[in-house]
Structures are given as structure tokens and as C-alpha cells.
């Protein structure tokens, strides 16, 4: 008896097939010649699927990829400029393949404001991240967009010494403590 069949029979003594499916993916053991035929047939089917891929499927694939990469980034502690809010919004617009003017209209903001956000001169607000969530068919949650912005802000607060100095000059009669 082949190894995986032996294990399957052993499992069958304790578990139903439904329970096995909830715990295992046991590969079917077939001869090398059979495997080649199965693989060849499957390759042809797969290549055909790829040829017939629709625009909707391309969009879903790219947006899911974007979402999963953002998720990985947000779990990571390091700030990365490639994942700034502006750069990810730029990437989103590229995926959906819309002129910026049309996109601004679709999310109901002025094109000038969109340009300012994309250049990092203006920050997003809560209203905008809800609109982005809706625009992307709920694939990328509003909280992901917001956390991209928040992570950038945290980085800037920690690193922007020039701004810290500028702002400190505007403060009068500040409290003093001996450290």
C-alpha cells in the first residue's frame, strides 16, 4: 500500500472523511506517467483561464495584492516611504486606471485637493478614507488607509527635528521640570 493511502486508512479508523478534510490535504499518489498527464491537462486549462481573464478579475487580483501587502506593512514596525498614504493612493489610481480628474470626481473631492494629497502637501481625513473604502468595492478597508497615514505621522513626529524646533519657538511660558 502506498504511504499516503496507509495514513488515510489509519485516519479513517478514527475520523470521518469530513473530519479528515478539516484537518488534512492528503495528496493523491499516482505514478509519474499519470502525474505528467494530469499536470499537462491542468496546465492547458490554466493557460486558457489566464487568456480569458476579465478586467474585473485583473482589478480584484491587483487590489487584493495591494491590500495584503499593506496588511504586511502595517504589522511591520518600520516606516517605508513606498507605503506612505500618497504613494499607495497613487498605486491605487494606477491599478484602477482612471485619469486623476475622473477619480477626484468619483470620490467627490476637488482635483486640486487630490493633487495636494498625492504630493503629500495635504493630509487625508476620515471622510476620504471612507470614500476610498467604498470606491474600492470594500476590498481595502478604511482602517487600512487610515493606518497608512497614522504610521507616517508617527514616523514624522519621531524624526522631524526641524519641525519640532520650529514649533518649540512658538510656545511661551512652558512648564519646566527637573529631569
Amino acid at each position: 500500500m502506498k504511504k499516503s493511502e496507509e495514513i488515510y486508512q489509519k485516519l479513517k479508523e478514527k475520523l470521518t472523511d469530513e473530519e479528515i478534510v478539516e484537518r488534512y490535504v492528503i495528496p493523491e499518489e499516482i505514478s509519474e506517467a499519470e502525474r505528467q498527464v494530469v499536470e499537462e491537462e491542468f496546465r492547458a486549462i490554466r493557460m486558457n483561464m489566464l487568456k480569458e481573464r476579465s478586467e474585473q478579475q485583473r482589478l480584484l487580483s491587483e487590489l487584493m495584492r495591494m491590500k495584503l501587502l499593506i496588511r504586511d506593512y502595517l504589522k511591520n514596525s518600520q516606516y517605508d516611504e513606498a507605503f506612505s498614504f500618497a504613494n499607495q493612493l497613487q498605486a491605487y489610481i494606477k491599478i484602477i486606471d482612471r485619469p486623476k480628474k475622473d477619480f477626484a470626481e468619483e470620490i467627490d473631492i476637488h482635483p486640486t485637493r487630490l493633487s495636494r494629497i498625492l504630493s503629500g502637501k495635504e493630509s487625508p481625513n476620515i471622510e476620504l478614507v471612507y470614500r476610498l473604502e467604498k470606491h474600492g468595492g470594500q476590498l481595502i478597508p478604511a482602517i487600512y488607509w487610515w493606518k497608512l497615514h497614522a504610521k507616517q505621522l508617527e514616523y514624522l513626529i519621531q524624526k522631524d527635528e526641524q519641525k519640532r524646533l520650529e514649533e518649540s519657538h512658538k510656545v511661551k511660558n512652558h512648564l519646566k521640570f527637573r529631569a
Binding site: 478514527k14 472523511d17 478534510v21 484537518r23 490535504v25 493523491e28 481573464r53 478579475q57 487580483s61 495584503l68
Partner: protein
Amino acid sequence: MLLILNTATGEFLEAFIDKLSDCEELKGLKGFEFDWQKQCDYEVYKIALVEQPDHTLGLISCIDIPQELRVHVNLIEVNSSDIGRPKKLDRIAGCLIAFACSLAFKRRYGGFVSLMPKTKLIDLYQEKYGFRQFGRMLAVQYEASAELIKNYIGDEEI
């Protein structure tokens, strides 16, 4: 966030998945029937609870097939000590399949994941995880793959 269900308490436990880069880690694993060292040529990942990182709950072996834009799941096994009857922990295999789907999206494969399970179990994999049959193989992609990620990995918790 990966969530494993403790069926005794109804509580969800946070889990993580790590790639095993050293074949030595697959030597003499307790609670596993298959010889996981035979999977050394492939990508092998383990799933464990955050609160018990050294206890491997389950393993998945994936084969990357970039020329066909797919990730093939070669083998999944859940540690037998965690799957008594009635099982103590649920959703482990589902989380591992959903993880394979996330790899397939990140690699620009449209979430395409294939399996070649035992023939008599094919219908059950279709019912449980939404796979579709193509000859002897099963596959999941696009919406069905995204749905598995949503169900097992979740959306909002980051």
C-alpha cells in the same frame, strides 16, 4: 489576524504562520504522521498560537509554479494532539489554505491555489472550502480565494 477556534470554550485564539527555512526543523516532529522532511524541496510553513509559539499546530507544504501563475498545496497536516475527537481546536487547516491564497495574491497569481487531493475527498474539499474541480485537480481563485482569506484571516484586525 489568524484566528483558531477553541471548540471547548468557544474562544478565538490568535495564531501566526512562519516559513520554515531549515529542513532540520522538520526532523522528528511529534504529532505528525507524514514524513515532512520529504517536503524540504518545497515551501513549508508552520502555524502556531501566539501564546504557544513553539508548539506547531499544523504544517503546509506549497509548491510555487510561476510559469502557470499558481501555488500548489502539496500537503497539509494538523498536529494530532490538537485534533482529538471531538477536536479541541478548529479552523487550523482552513487558516493554512487561506494563507496559501494570500501567497497566490501577493505573487500576482490572482489568488490561484491548486490541490490534488485523494479522489474520494474531492467533493468535500469543494463543499468545505469552495474549490472547483478541473480534471483530477481542484483550484480556487479570485472571489473564492478572497472569500477564504476573509473567512479565515479576517479584514479589519490589523
